[in-house]
């Protein structure tokens, strides 16, 4: 079988187009900043970007002018403050940004529906809240068995989903451990899938521990090997979250000039993730994960 291995540059060039609906998932863990940066470097426009927590990477995409619309459920800088590029867009319209807002459960439901090939997802939710007023796509349906009214959210079918993971083989059979977020649902919901990994492994490594596979190669279009590609997010067992970076983002994000200067230096000013890492000596030593191995299991029969 033909390898799906490509560079980040080629993966984004081939699979992320102007006007696309794009998901870069990962809940705190495994957020692919390297892919976000490449989208900014290639100056994609009019994207509809969807994530539960926009996090710093979508603040950067908004600040860089790549986004037309944001679909989300919690837009803050976790543990540190606000996403100011997002807030400027919503509070002052600079630049204009459409928003479509849910709760976490609502976003999970949207991705679950997309992944299951259903038009919507039912849930017991939103009664009494203003969320369905703010977002008319949150509707209700009457259960045909009990007569109970349930909330519904529409399926999300992204054009492209980008998943960061610890390891995959060159067909894109992808293994993840630690927090799993909604990566599996986001990948299955998507028309195209890019997997970005810390480490490329042989198919035999995947086959030795199939329960750890989150995403099968059959739904993957491109595999990118990009060590440290999630920084300042983290990869369990590889490197820790760079909490200092999240704290330091607050003043950068608050000032549009500083934000532009950051993007000029750390995104447009480098060719790829390796150059990004080379600009930050001492980072790897500071964040490298400690060791806490799990014992294997017997898959014999």
């Amino acid at each position: 079988m033909k390898s799906k291995l490509v560079s980040m540059k080629d993966a984004i060039a081939a699979h992320v187009r102007d006007g696309d609906t794009v998901v870069i998932e990962g809940f705190t863990h495994l957020i692919c900043f390297a892919a976000g940066h490449e989208i900014i470097r290639q100056r994609r426009k009019d994207l509809t970007i969807c994530r539960l927590t926009p996090d710093l990477i979508y603040d950067q995409l908004i600040g860089a002018g790549c986004a037309k619309k944001l679909v989300f459920s919690w837009a803050g800088n976790p543990g540190a403050g606000s996403l100011h590029a997002f807030r400027r867009a919503v509070e002052q319209g600079t630049p204009p940004l459409e928003i479509e807002e849910y709760s976490h459960f609502g976003m999970v439901g949207r991705m679950s529906a997309g992944a299951a090939g259903l038009p919507f997802w039912p849930m017991k939710n939103y009664m009494g809240t203003d969320l369905p007023v703010a977002n008319p796509l949150i509707k209700t349906v009457t259960c045909p068995y009990t007569g109970v009214e349930l909330a519904t959210v529409p399926a999300l079918r992204p054009d492209v989903t980008i998943i960061h993971a610890q390891r995959a083989d060159e067909q894109g059979n992808t293994q993840v451990w630690g927090l799993l977020g909604v990566q599996k649902e986001a990948a299955f919901a998507s028309q195209r899938v890019i997997v970005v990994v810390e480490e490329l492994v042989d198919e035999s490594v995947i086959r030795a521990d199939p329960n750890r596979t989150l995403i099968p190669g059959m739904i993957v279009d491109a595999v990118v090997v990009e060590p440290w590609g999630a920084h300042p997010s983290y990869a369990q067992g590889y490197y820790d979250r760079d909490n200092d970076f999240y704290v330091n983002w607050e003043p950068i994000s608050r000032d549009p000039e500083k934000l532009t200067a950051y993007l000029d230096e750390f995104v447009h000013g480098v060719r790829d993730r390796a150059e990004y890492m080379a600009k930050q000596p001492g980072l790897k030593e500071r964040l490298k994960a400690g060791t806490r191995m799990a014992a294997g299991v017997n898959y014999g029969f």
């Binding site: 809940f27 705190t28 863990h29 539960l52 927590t53 989300f72 459920s73 919690w74 837009a75 803050g76 976790p78 543990g79 540190a80 606000s82 997002f86 807030r87 919503v90 509070e91 807002e101 849910y102 709760s103 976490h104 459960f105 999970v108 991705m111 679950s112 849930m123 017991k124 939710n125 939103y126 009664m127 009494g128 809240t129 203003d130 969320l131 007023v133 703010a134 109970v148 009214e149 451990w177 630690g178 927090l179 799993l180 977020g181 909604v182 599996k184 649902e185 983290y234 369990q236 820790d240 979250r241 909490n243 999240y246 994960a289 806490r292």
Partner: protein, 254 residues
């Protein structure tokens, strides 16, 4: 002058609400301190569940974010967020949920979405996250919030997470499974929901706090229960754990 800070008092009061063996949906910040304080004292078998998917977490460091890697290491289970919201929360397995917010109103409704109008907000806040569904499904909810008149308006600007009455309707009428916010733990005292009316009523006060001081920081005519409980300040062991073990860098206690 007290020898403890308002954050320390709030963390200690919240921790005392938790019984051993309970299943708690933990938020970051003071709820996280409160849960780990309870685990170190009266509730060693408290089950901490984080919306990021860590179940039975035993964080060895204070998690800065709700998806900190230390929540995974040594936990009982790590599951997808679909599992967290469907199998645990919607299915009624969460006994206690902690919430906070920029605004808390007379009926314990919470706003974490916008100050001002939704379409043209004065301040855009982060939004619901998992708060709306926690408020609906957790068997009971504890709110932690510092008192001031802007944070405690008669009615929230935007109803993100439902309290005891939403726009004139009770939780029962709206079909909400959980009991909703039963207590609001503030920096001056504790409000409790009135079982009849759903209104938040002052039922307990901290040492050296005047009732008037609480009333003047609330944006509606606050009812005061006839018999007010006096809450004991944090003890030496509570303060030692909070300061030396749980938050030595004063990330949340500052």
């Amino acid at each position: 002058m007290t020898n403890y800070s308002p954050s320390e008092m709030m963390s200690a009061v919240a921790a005392r609400e938790l019984a051993n063996g309970e299943v708690v949906f933990v938020g970051i910040g003071l709820p996280n301190l409160a849960c780990n304080l309870a685990r170190a004292l009266q509730a060693p078998d408290l089950v901490l569940i984080y919306e990021s998917g860590a179940v039975g977490a035993v964080p060895e460091r204070l998690p800065v974010s709700i998806g900190d890697p230390s929540l995974v290491t040594g936990s009982l289970m790590v599951c997808s967020m679909a599992d967290v919201f469907q199998l645990f929360l919607q299915n009624g397995k969460i006994e206690v949920g902690f919430l906070g917010g920029a605004q808390v109103d007379r009926y314990g409704n919470i706003n974490t979405t916008v100050i001002g109008k939704y379409q043209k907000p004065k301040v855009r806040l982060p939004g619901s996250g998992g708060a709306a569904e926690i408020a609906i499904h957790a068997q009971r909810v504890l709110i932690i919030s510092r008192l001031n008149p802007r944070a405690f308006p008669e009615q929230v600007d935007f109803l993100t997470s439902p309290g005891q009455r939403c726009k004139g309707k009770s939780r029962q009428e709206l079909g909400m499974p959980g009991a909703g916010p039963v207590k609001v733990i503030t920096d001056k005292g504790v409000l409790q929901s009135d079982p009849e009316t759903g209104e938040m009523v002052l039922t307990a006060i901290y040492p050296d706090v005047a009732v008037e001081d609480v009333k003047s920081n609330v944006g509606w005519p606050l009812r005061v229960r006839d018999h007010l409980d006096l809450i004991a300040p944090p003890g030496a062991e509570e303060l030692r754990l909070l300061r030396e073990v749980l938050d030595p860098k004063k990330l949340y206690l500052g």
